[in-house]
Amino acid sequence: MEAMNVKITINGKEHSAKVETRQLLVHFIRESAGLTGTHVGCDTSNCGACTVLLDGKPVKSCTVLSAQANGKEVTTIEGLGSIKGMDKLQKAFIKHDGLQCGFCTPGMIMEAHYLLKKNPNASEEEIRSGIDGNLCRCTGYVGIIEAIKSVQNGADNGKA
């Protein structure tokens, strides 16, 4: 199998590795960079558990090749918040019961992060539409939508 060198900046840190050309970005993130917060739920772009930002835009990293991300910047769930603590969206997900089993959560938060950046005043309909490609089997989306709204209104203001 053909191999190539790729260099991908993940959460501000450069990661280089020689990988097979067929390697998926999610496996570069999880295995080459060792960041396991990005999950694989379906391998087919249906569930969104693997959502990361590629040059600022959400992609489903289970259907992007590492080669396609070569030279680009990726933000994963580990890139939000800091050593000191969680960012406001992460706190809001906890406060508003936006997660139960937690498996879809990293992808869901990345998508929500993008959604709020692009459209800070998104209506509930726009929020639902924004996260339509991210499946959650536990919460019924109720807590997730409440969490996103709360950040949007500045209601939580980072203090969960």
């Binding site: 999950h39 249906n46 939000l80 139960q100 498996f103 959560t105 499946l135 089997r137 536990c138 019924g140």
Partner: protein
């Protein structure tokens, strides 16, 4: 770090996140045929590698019995569903493990499969050594005379559903220093341990099972399955860690599927609307292999068939039948939604026949004193609950929006008790429960109950990961049982340890406990019935291209004492969306050759955010007799939601519906 914080920061430790040195990745060669003779398997690890005594696996059972319908670890002689494991391959690279699937040559001689359970009753037995495909066939209740003014009949069906937790199944097995060490995505570490011991012929003390963070279970992850055994066997064979992470397509074709039940019901009533009795046949689609649960399921449906009604006569034939499909397994609700669907569909049919209001006919058939059904289910008086529910759900007003209503009884899996261990180490109280969380939030009730009983705050306690080396025995998380039975085990153990402190010191204080030397295990036994009432009201809709919609779902449940109101609400909301999913489109569909047509999580109909209905949750808290006063909860919304939604759709469309999901073509 707290569990939820780990999850939102991407620091969960699900099975695939656990790093070990030099793992082997496992990939499984699976049958492309629903039924075929297995002529030859060349390459990979297959049945030929297994000692005969390692040859079958049951739903957490010992798996070494002579049941011809027991699931073999690897197919032997025949394959009986698309996706059945035939061989396994291993590689240090997960991509190369997938490549290696190509290296295994399998010769099949296709046979005619049977897909419908009704057809399977008279079809040739799919397993050698069986006289028919019927694995259980019982009559429940008592026959009664047919003389009623009204007799209504219908054939009702809940199609199969894939459990579809967002984290698929997975296991990491290692064999070191003569012991099998397993990290697994599971609802019960003890089921996995017992199952592995039984199938691998290992003494239980040679096996340690640790729960990894588990990304949802919904029934599937309660027991041992063939892939667990293959991974454990390979870890022993190759003497290195073996990791298997199921792909979604494997999940959809080969993981146990729930629902899949047919009810041919006949309701007897008089012209006033009073129901005199119910008869019928319940047929559960057991899939290709079955031990225990699939045989038990139709009788369990029958047990609760009369729901909240004082119906005096009941007589049901309960059958479970093999077909060439993935094996049957529990899916959130597991028999309870089917029972409510069969009963409530018939009650609605009676209301339509008599032109009676949905609530009126239900009140007429409720009971005003405790009642034991002809199938042996005990309930309290249901009339007071129904009256409160109609008020709380705003039935009169919502009727104008063509809302449907449904009532049900939640029969939780209280038996056979639960294990708990409390131990003081480093001045902290360590808590192990035999039932483990995978989304329910056990830590919320553990913190609350420990604080209440022992005055110990969350900073002075450690909620431990379920690990069979650290707690002697336990059952697991299923059947709406954890808060009620697991919580009660915890309360009972806490009271015991408090008494021990008092005996030693003449009094109890938190400091005396945390500075002492205490280590207490208890297996709390509860075999009684604590059934609870629930009601849902819902409004359905029809979209522009005839698609069925769920617009709003309301709940009113008696949850006993709510140990955390926020968690109760969140659990109900999530369950209502699963119930709504069953109504609007969730299903596993096979063609007449037993080929799977729903091959993605989207095709299988898991609810998306844009389709999810508005949720309104109301509860009442009638404390149970258990030490923690809780009642079952987790499955309630999957029981009540489909019956309320389908009734609303009938009010909107003027048509009768007998099947979930309701598909656009059903509306034409």
């Amino acid at each position: 770090m707290e569990r939820l914080e780990r999850f939102v920061r991407g620091m969960g430790q699900y099975v695939d996140d656990i790093k070990v040195e030099h793992p082997l990745y496992m990939a499984v060669v699976r049958s492309p045929y629903a039924r075929a003779k297995l002529i030859n398997v060349k390459g990979g690890v297959s049945a030929a590698d297994f000692d005969a005594k390692l040859a079958s696996v049951g739903e957490g059972a010992q798996g070494r019995d002579s049941n011809p319908a027991a699931h073999p670890i690897f197919a032997k002689g025949f394959v009986n569903y698309v996706g059945q494991p035939v061989a396994a391959v291993f590689d240090e690279d997960r991509y190369k493990a997938e490549d290696q699937l190509e290296s295994v040559d399998v010769d099949y001689e296709p046979l005619q499969p049977v897909v419908s359970p009704e057809a399977a009753i008279d079809f040739e037995p799919i397993h050698e050594g069986m006289k028919s495909n019927i694995i259980s066939d019982r009559y429940l209740g008592k026959d009664f005379a047919d003389g009623a003014e009204i007799v209504l009949e219908d054939r009702l069906e809940n199609h199969r559903i894939a459990t579809n937790a967002i984290e698929t199944r997975g296991i990491l097995a290692d064999f070191t220093e003569g012991r099998l060490i397993v990290h697994v995505s599971t609802q019960s570490v003890f089921s996995i341990k017992r199952g592995l011991a039984g199938t691998l012929g290992l003494p239980e003390e040679k096996i340690r099972v640790i729960q990894a963070d588990t990304g949802g279970g919904f029934g599937l992850k309660g027991g041992l399955q063939p892939e667990h055994v293959i991974a454990a066997y390979a870890a022993m064979k190759y003497k290195r860690p073996v990791k298997w992470i199921e792909t979604r397509i494997e999940h959809l074709m080969a993981a146990n599927q729930g629902r899949g039940a047919i009810g041919k019901m006949r309701l007897y009533a008089n012209n006033s609307g009073k129901i005199l009795g119910i008869k019928g046949t319940i047929i559960v689609d057991a899939g290709a292999y079955a031990e225990g649960l699939a045989g038990f399921a139709p009788g369990f449906i029958a047990h609760q068939l009369t729901e909240q009604y004082g119906i005096k006569n009941g007589y049901v034939r309960a059958m479970s039948v093999l077909t060439n499909k993935a094996p049957y397994g529990p899916y959130r609700g597991a028999g309870r939604p089917e029972a409510a669907f069969f009963m409530e569909r018939m009650v609605d049919m009676l209301a339509d026949r008599l032109g009676m209001d949905d609530a009126e006919i239900r009140l007429l058939n409720s009971t005003d004193k405790p009642f034991t059904s002809p199938f042996g289910m005990h309930i309290e008086a249901s009339k007071p609950f129904m009256e409160k529910a109609l008020e709380a759900l705003d039935y009169r007003k919502m009727k104008k929006s063509k809302a449907g209503i449904g009532f049900f009884v939640l029969v939780p899996g209280a038996a056979p008790g639960e294990g708990v261990r409390l131990a003081v180490k480093d001045k902290k109280l360590h808590v192990w429960l035999g039932s483990n969380q995978h989304g329910q939030g056990h830590d919320f009730f553990i913190k609350k109950l420990v604080k209440e009983e022992l005055g110990i705050g969350e900073n002075e306690m450690v909620i431990e990961v379920p690990d069979t080396d650290n707690i002697r025995s336990g059952i697991g998380t299923w059947g709406s049982r954890s808060a009620m039975v697991g919580g009660s085990a915890l309360v009972d153990a806490a009271r015991h340890i408090k008494d021990e402190v008092k005996r030693k010191n003449g009094k109890y204080s938190k400091a005396l406990l945390l500075h002492g030397n205490y280590d207490y295990f208890e297996f709390y036994k509860f075999d009684g019935e604590i059934n609870s009432f629930g009601a849902n009201l819902a409004v359905a809709g029809i979209g522009p291209v005839n698609e069925v919609r769920a617009l709003e779902v309301r709940a009113f449940y008696d949850v006993g004492r709510a140990l955390s109101k926020e968690m109760v609400k969140a659990q109900i909301e999530g369950g209502m969306i699963q119930g709504a999913g069953q109504f609007i489109g969730e299903g596993v569909i096979y063609d007449e050759n037993g080929q799977l047509l729903t091959a993605s999580i989207s095709n299988a109909g898991v609810m998306r955010a844009t389709k999810a209905p508005k949720c309104v949750v109301k509860i009442i808290e009638n404390p149970s007799d258990l030490p923690d006063k809780a009642k079952g909860l987790g499955e309630a919304p999957t029981i009540g939601t489909p019956i309320a939604l389908i009734r609303s759709l009938e009010h909107i469309s003027g048509k009768r519906f007998s099947t979930t999901p309701v598909r656009p073509e059903d509306l034409i």
